[in-house]
Amino acid sequence: MEALLHRKIFRKNPVLGYMHMSLAFGWFLLIVVGHLETMIAEHSLFVPFHKAVFFRYYEGFDEFFLSGLFSFLMDFLLLFVLSGLMFAIVKRFRKKLFGLRRTTHLKSGDKIALTSLWLIFPLRLLAESTSAAVYHNGGFLTSGVGAAIDFIGNPAIFYYPLWMAYSLSLGFFFVALPNSRYMHIPTEVVFIFLRVAGIRLKKQNDSYTDVQVFSCSRCGICLDKCQLSVAGIDDSQSVYLLKNIRNKNLSDEKLFNCLMCGRCQVDCPVGIETIELRTVQRIESTREYNSSYDYLIQEVATKADVVYFAGCMTHLTPRVISSMKKIFATAEEDVWFMDEVKAPCCGRPLMLAGQYEAARKLIENNSRMILDSGAHTLVVSCPICYKVFKEDYKLPDVEVVFHAQYIYDLIHSGKLSVDTSNQRMVYHDPCELGRGMGMYETPRKLLGRIGEVVHMKDEKEYAFCCGGSLGNLKISEDKRKLLRDQALVTYEGFSPDILVTACPKCKKTFAAGRKLKVFDLAEIVAGAICVDSLSKEKEILEKQEADCYAVEGL
């Protein structure tokens, strides 16, 4: 049913949703009802397919059970489909009315199929109408049009040619289908079934990738969701990716020109795993040259309850680190700052570049370090790291916690107390955290304890990418700035006091835009720690210092 209705399209735009529904669902019903009608007319459960499709051609003068109702129903459905078709034609030329700014470009296979598709239903109307004129068997629509035809000339003259034209257009459509976007009609059903059954993409090309690839109807909804369009990049979006995979002409320039932000995937009516599909292609494309990182040596781990891994990017936002340190100290947590001096990257950036095998090496190295520390919790403050630690590291008995959650828990358990203020904050969902890991509420709850989080339209799964994404290896910095500004201008519209995010990369990207003051949520929390806990922190620091002196014998 989902395949026919596509609720997501409705969400995108009701008119567009109606268009697809009327065409897909309407046609489906025409076939089903027509079949039923034929079955009743023939008094048989098994009727030849052509008989049902061309029923009005065969159907002569005989009245049968409910034939009047069926005539009406069939005409109504035809009208339903035709109305959709009308929208489709309008959409081709006036796409804005449908909430679409862009539509896909057609290729020759598509054009034949599209033309056939457009012709099928008007021809059917005309053919059935002539039948209606000849046999007087039509419903309200066909008999009406039939009467008009009768008025123009002898319907019997048009009778054969029109039925012939109708069947030809139908034939053309099915012949053109495998080479066109309408291939999705058969494939999608299979795909939706498999998806519901819980099957997901593996890290290599296989038949399931083919199923997904062929399930794309090239509706183009992903085009508008894609922020790259803002920067004038309009040949690398998911729909083109799928097309290029299908046509086996995918270039690196297009493959790696994607933010991997996941906005397209959220809105894909068919639910194609666009990001995973692209990841698979990147893996395939770079399989030849994964690095071995022989130089990595196992550093000695420090025993602690909690391991903090700041990550590469966080090292460029030292305020986040100092905030985390302050939070740890205030909460009196036993923490080992694993990459304070040096540690390999988490591996996620390599994965985004397709180099999963290479990332494995870093993951192994880091895993051993974390396990050696004997910690029960790994805290990360970067969503890029969080995703890979959570999904790809095998760390038995170690809970991987994002700092938002971790801080929230500290507050919740009373280890940390924060002051409230009336600051208005816009919270920017980092791609890797939001769409990537599904974490939307925790940061908001946390920030809500300190100030007011402004509610926006483009948030959570519809949030913008900051433009700084590591997923895109091709986009120039100038173009990144356009994406960043798109988000910033939108956020500015809500006149917040500050912009808060939970990703060092987003923070740096937005900070460079100089439109709003940008903070990581750790900074917000660290800045809001109650005086009470502050004095406690001071006490601890003094004690630590005293211990140091004791050790050094001073």
Binding site: D252, E253, F256, T286, E288, Y289, S291, S292, Y293, Y295, L296, C312, M313, H315, L316, K342, A343, P344, C345, P349, L350, L352, A353, Q355, L362, G468, L470, L473, K474, I475, S476, E477, D478, K505, K508
Partner: protein, 115 residues
Amino acid sequence: MSQFDFLQPKSRQIEIEQFDDRILTYVLEREQSFLTCISCGGCTATCSAGNLTSFNVRKIGLSLRRGNINDLSDEVQKCMFCGKCTLVCPRDINIRNVVLLIKKGIAQLETEKTL
């Protein structure tokens, strides 16, 4: 002439004329921003991999420009793609892509002997 086995003259002087610019061309065709490198070393300073081993991103760029493909293919393997270099580059060079292209270019050279 075994008695002369101590005589193995080999110059390490850079001869601009003898540059192997195949990888450079390959990269520049796809990533123009590399042209504007001023060899400031910001990338090397921030590099995550450079913190762990002798890896110098700036020198990767130089080896690329000077056509030292041998140096390049060994060195470029050390990159972890973390992207910090790109973030600090004063000339907004897409260094991650440059590294990706070098890796790709070298892999292609090795398999196909052409680019």
